[in-house]
């Protein structure tokens, strides 16, 4: 399998070619620097992203939605599945603390969805 990965480390945006099979890299070409090799390798093997969303909160004076994020990057192919669970989540608390987990171990990834704001 061969993939073209646009490097996002610097504005140059090298189009790095990575070839490999089953998470094993055989060849990397067209990179501009070492950082690009690292980036392209991790993107090829397992692209992960921080997932963010916002959920309704009841019981606080603050009527805004609560912004949340994953405590660490989640594999990209699981993002939409995680959203299904997030969409069903609503919390009812008088106080939400910054970085308090609101969904623990989402989809068995070992990653929590945590609050990005304190709400009272």
């Amino acid at each position: 399998m061969e993939k073209e990965i646009i490097c996002v480390i610097c504005p140059k945006g090298c189009r790095i070619k990575v070839a490999g099979e089953d998470g094993q890299i055989h060849k990397i070409e067209n990179y501009g620097c070492k950082r690009g090799v690292e980036y392209a390798s991790s993107e090829f093997v397992s692209p992960c992203r921080i997932l963010t969303s916002s959920i309704p909160v009841e019981g606080t004076k603050d009527k805004r939605m609560l912004p949340i994020r994953s405590s660490s990057p989640i594999p990209r192919d699981k993002l939409l599945h995680c959203m299904e669970q997030i969409k069903k989540t609503k919390i009812n608390n008088a106080v939400v603390q910054m970085h308090q987990p609101v969904i623990k171990n989402i989809l068995g990834t070992g990653i929590d969805m945590i609050a990005c704001r304190t709400m009272r």
Binding site: I6, R64, P67, I68, R69, K87, C116, T118
Partner: protein, 419 residues
């Protein structure tokens, strides 16, 4: 009508205003007051729930609300006072007039800091033909509705403009189960950051159509479709190649304009290149008691830079309010080869600090040397692999070299020979 006095008054509690307030306090301003029209501090950061903030300033990646919270906590520890739900409406010399539910408030201040941020360009700014149905939003409005108020603005969306907010909303709406049919960009290159194209569009297979624009909108009560067409090298649409995309919503991410209506009431001169005030390295406008920082000064692409500008303005305003801000001969900074604008626009030569100059290039380029020079004197120089109009560049003039400045400072982005 009520009146009060303070050392430094700041309009806006977004990243620029918060950083300014903290810096003013840290530089021993006695009373620091922020005027905020919203009910909460943090400004637009509160709706920017995506990560990517703080990489430069904190050396870690934060979401908008997390980035804001660090400054909110610090400002409150320093006893910065904020008047929420209060609109600043007029400046007359050293008096800032505000209104809220208590009526009119006049604040006499030793220094005024403008930190109002910017507004999005709208359909009216673009003059897109077609009917005028519901379902046309600026990307930032859709972002606020979605992330803070919990309302999805549509089911099938087309986004005009490849600005960062548009691309970030493309991802956000996709995650919420909305179909984003295309992002349409009139220029032959991306307006926002490459990182956002990769992580917001490519990750979800959202098509980006460069050199295309919207030539028609249909729908009576609600948007039913948009017509897109490729454009020629003069950006004129080629109508015979147009195609119709059905959708119920159009988001516009077509640029930002500094919100300087208040500045104009205070007779702060606004310059065309940035649509913001002209400032020196202290963020001091041509009205010496008025300072300007963040997106009201010029539209930044990173909040980290906005915070830095806020800090400078806060420090300088604190010094000014007690008559300690250095004064002296000023020389202009000039946009030279392939440079769109430079900020600050003026430099006080008697400074004893390094000076950071921010600028944008006009057209993208690879392997470029950025130089700041005064006559034949080289003041700063940096090689870079790539430049893009979407990404602000900077050069720092070391304080030892300030004596080499003649009658002006010119910034050039010079293309080197291909390696």
């Amino acid at each position: 009508m009520k009146t009060r006095k303070c050392d430094v008054v700041i309009v806006g509690s977004g990243p620029a205003g918060l950083a300014a307030a903290i810096a003013a306090k840290e530089n021993n301003a006695g009373s620091v007051l922020i005027i905020e029209r919203d009910a909460y501090p943090g400004g637009i950061l509160q709706q920017c729930i995506h990560p990517g903030f703080g990489l430069k300033y904190f050396n870690e990646e934060l979401t908008g609300p997390e980035y804001a919270q660090r400054f909110i906590d610090k400002a409150s520890a320093l006893k910065v006072e904020t008047l929420f739900n209060t609109m600043a409406i007029h400046i007359n010399q050293d008096v800032l007039t505000c209104v809220n539910t208590d009526g009119v408030l006049k604040i006499e201040a030793g220094a005024i800091i403008l930190a109002m941020g910017c507004r999005e360009r709208t359909r009216a700014n673009l003059v897109i033909p077609g009917s005028r149905p519901a379902g046309i939003y600026t990307a930032g409005t859709a972002q606020r509705l979605m992330n803070i108020q919990g309302h999805k603005v549509g089911k099938e969306i087309v986004i005009l403009g490849s600005g960062d907010i548009g691309m970030i909303m493309a991802r956000r709406m996709t995650l919420e189960g909305v179909k984003v049919k295309a992002v349409v960009e009139i220029m032959p290159y991306l307006a926002g950051l490459t990182r956002n194209k990769v992580q917001c569009l490519d990750d979800f297979g959202i098509p980006l159509l460069l050199s295309h624009t919207i030539v028609d909108i249909t729908g009576i009560d609600r948007v039913e479709s948009v017509t897109i067409a490729p454009v020629d090298s003069n950006r004129n649409p080629i109508l015979e190649k147009s195609q119709i995309i059905t959708c119920d919503t159009l988001l516009l991410s077509v640029g930002l304009i500094p919100e300087n209506e208040l500045s104009k009431t205070g007779e702060v001169p606004i310059i065309p290149a940035t649509k913001g005030a002209s400032v020196n390295q202290y963020m001091q406008t041509l009205r010496p008691n008025i300072f300007s920082c963040g997106n009201v000064l010029h539209v930044n692409d990173l909040v980290d830079n906005v915070s830095r500008e806020g800090e400078i303005a806060g420090m300088a305003a604190a010094l000014y309010s007690r008559g300690e801000l250095p004064e002296g001969e000023e020389v202009p900074t000039v946009a030279g080869e392939n440079i769109n604008y430079v900020c600050p626009q003026r430099i006080v030569k008697t400074s004893n600090k390094d000076i950071e100059l921010f600028f944008r290039v006009k057209v993208p380029g690879h392997d470029v040397i950025l130089v700041a020079q005064s006559g034949d004197n080289m003041l700063a120089r940096r090689k870079t692999i790539a430049v893009s109009p979407g990404e602000i560049e900077s050069l720092t003039i070391k304080k030892e070299l300030l004596k080499d400045i003649g009658s002006q400072i010119t910034i050039n982005a010079i293309k080197t020979e291909v390696r």
